[in-house]
């Protein structure tokens, strides 16, 4: 069994809509050489929901450090900002 492919990750931002959320998240990603592959956002019952698929191939930090930075941002702007290895979603929803 080889180690999992750890390059793709999913970032989710959930909470109250405020100005500049995408700018702040993508700023952190750009600073760390993380490429955004896909981005969607919706407002569900006044809750802002943004989902990003990112590629960590060229990332200068590992996913745990990135999670720390995004956690800090989340606290700063009062939103939940999570990054997760995308394998968790593939495992659950793809055979």
């Amino acid at each position: 069994m080889k180690p999992m492919d750890n390059r793709a990750a999913v970032i989710t931002v959930i909470g109250n809509d405020t100005i500049g959320i995408i700018a702040k998240v993508s700023g952190i990603l750009a600073d760390n050489q993380v490429n955004i592959k896909d981005i969607t956002q919706t407002i569900l019952e006044d809750i802002f929901t943004m989902i990003m698929i990112v590629d960590l191939t060229k990332s200068t930090v590992d996913i745990k450090d990135l999670a720390d930075k995004l956690d800090a941002l989340g606290e700063d702007i009062g939103l939940s900002v999570r990054i997760q290895n995308s394998n968790i979603f593939n495992a659950m929803h793809r055979i």
Binding site: M1, M4, T42, A67, R82, Q84, I88, A91
Partner: protein
């Protein structure tokens, strides 16, 4: 490409529905630690556990962080100590329990299982020393869990061990009476104990298991409950299908974590145990799932049928999701660890007799049940005997983890906090079974054990 719906469904399972990996349990064989000197055996046990499990907690935390999957417990199971200690010169085995406790603390795990004996057909001298050491061992250690397998479908029931375990449970309660007999919460009596169970207090690494192995226990009553809320009023075929699908999804997460942990820890992946293990937190209850079937309270007529369906559908969904499903795999029905069970027992809707019926179709048995402290040892043995008969004659695992709480009676309750929760003292039928228990001997294996 994943859809937004799928991503949000997964996130909701973890954030709102309490889905978690309940435990990554590293099984470590201690077969090579045996020698004539007890002191040297203890040294080897400590060194081997600490060497093998050095990175267990850190690895669990890393995986948890990267996947944002809560991994609640990191634990260790070892070869039954009655086997490991058999050749040593120790006259009692408390020293081995202390060694396991020390190793668990060094590794940072919160339980270590395997202070155990397999006595389904009879005692070795070592088994007797181990069993007699259980009360003190559980009183002087914090993290050691003990189990004794007294019956299997292939061998029948060792009724001498059933008799002795009633007394041992009473002694364990007495030695930990200042803490509501918490020692008994760390002691399980089994029929058909699985060798690869990752869940405490019954985990040990069976004799046929490898040198070191990763077994993962997953849980997710909240996910099943939420899924069932979406099919209210539908017929039971739809209910079964809904449970299967949810069980499939949560098992896949367990398999991913197990394989990742196995690679990082350099130990083979053993099994996924897809048990629905409740916690006292609201929204994490098996009883509430059963009530979602349409029962006013867990314990109402219909409860056994609902539980049978739940247990079976969970297994079916899980076995489609992973080829290596093992351990106990099904629905646990501990009383003190389940908010809905506590409520039903307190209300009087759930009785000990009904729980016994439920154990015919759940994955384990009478679990975390507090009973009056003045219950006699032979009555406790009678409870064990009935439960062992259910397991032995129905080819399933059953267990008894019962807490006769000194100084307490029906109307009182015990409080442990944390995952162990709290429980009302339940009524026990006062009629005596002492003459039956004191006969001793063996209950022969059932006819359907002869499959060769």
């Amino acid at each position: 490409m994943l859809t937004d719906f799928e991503i949000l469904e997964t996130i909701n399972m973890f954030q709102e529905q309490h889905l978690d990996i309940r435990t990554i349990t590293m099984g470590i064989s201690l077969m090579d630690c045996s020698c004539a000197s007890a002191e040297e055996t203890c040294r080897r046990i400590y060194d081997k556990i600490c060497r093998r499990a050095e990175k267990l907690v850190k690895t669990g935390e890393d995986i948890s962080r990267e996947y944002q999957v809560p991994i609640i417990n990191k634990r260790i199971s070892v070869t039954p100590i009655s086997i490991v200690a058999a050749s040593s010169d120790a006259s009692d085995y408390v020293c081995f329990a202390k060694t396991l406790d020390r190793a668990a603390k060094t590794c940072g795990v919160n339980f270590i299982g395997g202070f155990s004996a397999l006595v389904q057909k009879g005692y070795t001298d070592s088994d007797i020393k181990l069993i007699e050491s259980i009360p003190e061992s559980l009183a002087v250690t914090d993290f050691v869990c003990s189990s004794v397998n007294v019956a299997t479908t292939r061998t029948g029931i060792n009724m001498d061990a059933v008799r002795d375990m009633g007394r041992i449970i009473k002694q364990t309660a007495e030695l930990t009476k200042d803490r509501d007999a918490i020692g008994c919460a760390k002691l399980v009596v089994f029929a058909n104990a699985p060798d690869d169970n990752p869940f405490m207090a019954g985990a040990f690494l069976g004799p046929g298991e490898p040198e070191c192995v990763i077994n993962v226990g997953i849980s997710g009553p909240g996910v099943i409950k939420t899924a069932l809320e979406s099919v209210r009023g539908a017929d039971l075929g739809v209910v079964a299908e809904t449970i299967k699908k949810a069980a499939f999804k949560i098992t896949r997460v367990g398999e991913l974590v197990a394989r990742e942990a196995s690679v990082r820890l350099g130990a083979p992946f053993g099994i996924i145990d897809l048990s629905l293990a409740p916690t006292p937190v609201v929204g994490d209850s098996i009883a509430r799932i059963l009530e979602e079937f349409g029962l006013e309270d867990c314990g109402a007529w219909g409860t056994t049928c609902a539980l049978a369906m739940l247990n079976d559908a969970v297994k079916k969904g899980g076995t489609m999701a992973s080829s290596f499903v093992g351990g106990l795999s099904g629905a646990f029905i501990p009383v003190s660890e389940d908010e809905g069970m506590i409520a039903a027992a307190t209300k009087g809707a759930l009785t000990l007799e009904k729980l016994e019926a439920m154990t015919c179709v759940c994955s384990v048995g009478l679990d975390m049940i507090a009973i009056p402290g003045n219950t006699s040892a032979t009555t406790i043995s009678g409870i064990i005997a009935d439960e062992m008969a259910i397991g032995t004659f129905n080819s399933k695992t059953t267990a008894v983890r019962i807490i006769p709480t000194p100084g307490k009676d029906v109307g009182d309750s015990v409080e442990y906090g944390g995952l162990l929760g709290s429980a009302p003292i339940m009524r026990v039928n006062p009629s005596s079974c002492a003459d039956f228990i004191n006969r001793g001997g063996r209950v022969p294996a059932p006819i359907h054990s002869m499959r060769n």
